[in-house]
Amino acid sequence: MSGAGDVREPEKVVSIDAEYLSGKRFPYQEDISLVEDIDLETATPGKDLNWLEDVELLEEEGTPAVFDRYSNSFLRIYFPIPEGRENEIARKVLMAHLTGGNSYGIRLKAKHAKFPQPELGPWVEGSAVVGADWKPPVLEGWEPPEH
């Protein structure tokens, strides 16, 4: 590019996954025994899988992964997935992630939720309520413009 000199394009992260956001990998991403006992029908409203019906096993950069819509990120799965159980295992790993409060979106709630809501969402009964005392952030030295 003419006249660009040493100016370089900033690094663009196009595949933000759950590990990138949390800075660590979670045990249920590596051990199927930690998710086997999760009852998906009990974990969802209604008489079937409800919203989990739309959750399927996908891939992120060649690794099996399930999408966490609450943090807009992929959660990779590193253990071998039994054939024919791909979507079931993906859903169980996602529920382990959400009920454990590890989804990045959940971790933001305590500070940024603007109205009262259960911290862990609808998946955990008796979850603490956050967002009851939200105050708008104040930027030091900034004054609202006169209209």
């Binding site: 209604g46 919203w51 809501q117 969402g121």
Partner: protein, 264 residues
């Protein structure tokens, strides 16, 4: 000059007239263990929603009956917990939007955009719904036992919409994922510009929209229809035809990764 018969307003609103300034919670519901009855007759929208949240989040109530909703707008919105809510009457527009977890029954009718952006849960409307029912639905079941208006499930990204009656024009417009089961007739423009998803129709189709084609029925379609009708006790499903995207207009593979995530 003061108007004749000037009275002190009972509800103080912000300068734009959009937000009720008093955010205190009435705490007037009758609570009996995990059940509660909320009479909304004398309450404003903000008070009703605040009372609902207080009952469900702070009082441990799991089953709320709301009396006299009086077709007010935006009731039952943004409830983010597993619970049951029954509205005894009709709701106005944007009823039960942005919810995640509740199972809601509305015994009357609803205005436009019922259950818009629902993440999970079940919303059952015993009579008709206005246009844009289930707009941008992300997950869960929306069941309308009467007719639905135009653009049902516009921009739908998941979940299931069932209408036992007819649907108006542009049903499933720009639909991206999920399922619609329309038992009656549908107006022109069915599935116009849909990216993905499935629309089942029991009656006549006035006209297909751009890039919407009839799909081949398989066992998974039968399983879905029978399961949903059984779950919601809707009786025997009618004979249905299946409509899908012809995939001539759009291809997800060519989209940026961030755009792909928008529909997951």
């Amino acid at each position: 000059m003061d108007p004749v018969n000037a009275e002190e307003p009972t509800v103080r609103m912000d300068e734009r007239g959009l937000v009720e300034l008093d955010d205190s919670i009435p705490k007037t519901s009758k609570i009996d263990g995990e059940r509660a009855e909320l009479d909304a007759r004398e309450m404003t929208t903000r008070k009703i929603n605040a009372e609902l949240r207080w009952l469900i989040y702070e009082q441990g109530v799991r089953d709320v009956t709301v009396l006299n909703p009086s077709a007010r707008h935006s009731l039952g919105t943004a409830i983010l917990a597993r619970c049951r809510i029954r509205f005894e009457g009709s709701l106005g527009y944007f009823g039960c939007g942005l919810i995640d977890g509740p199972e809601i029954v509305i015994t009357g009718r609803v205005g436009w955009s019922v259950a818009e952006n629902m993440m999970s849960g079940v919303v059952v409307v015993e009579h008709n719904a206005g246009s844009l029912a289930g707009a941008a639905l992300r997950g869960g079941d929306l069941v309308v036992k009467g007719d639905v208006g135009a653009r049902t499930g516009i921009d739908q990204k998941g979940g299931t919409i069932i209408a036992l009656g007819n649907a108006a024009s542009m049903t499933g417009f720009m639909m991206q994922r999920g399922r619609q089961i329309i038992c009656g007739d549908v107006g022109p423009g069915l599935g116009d510009s849909m990216y993905d998803g499935t629309i089942y129709v029991g009656g006549e189709v006035a006209a297909l929209g751009i890039d919407c084609i009839e799909g081949e029925w398989d066992d998974s379609d039968t399983e879905l229809i029978e399961r949903k009708f059984a779950n919601h006790e809707l009786g025997k499903p009618p004979d249905l035809r299946k409509f899908v995207c012809g995939k001539k207009l759009y291809n997800y593979d060519s989209l940026e990764p961030s755009e792909r995530k928008l529909v997951l």
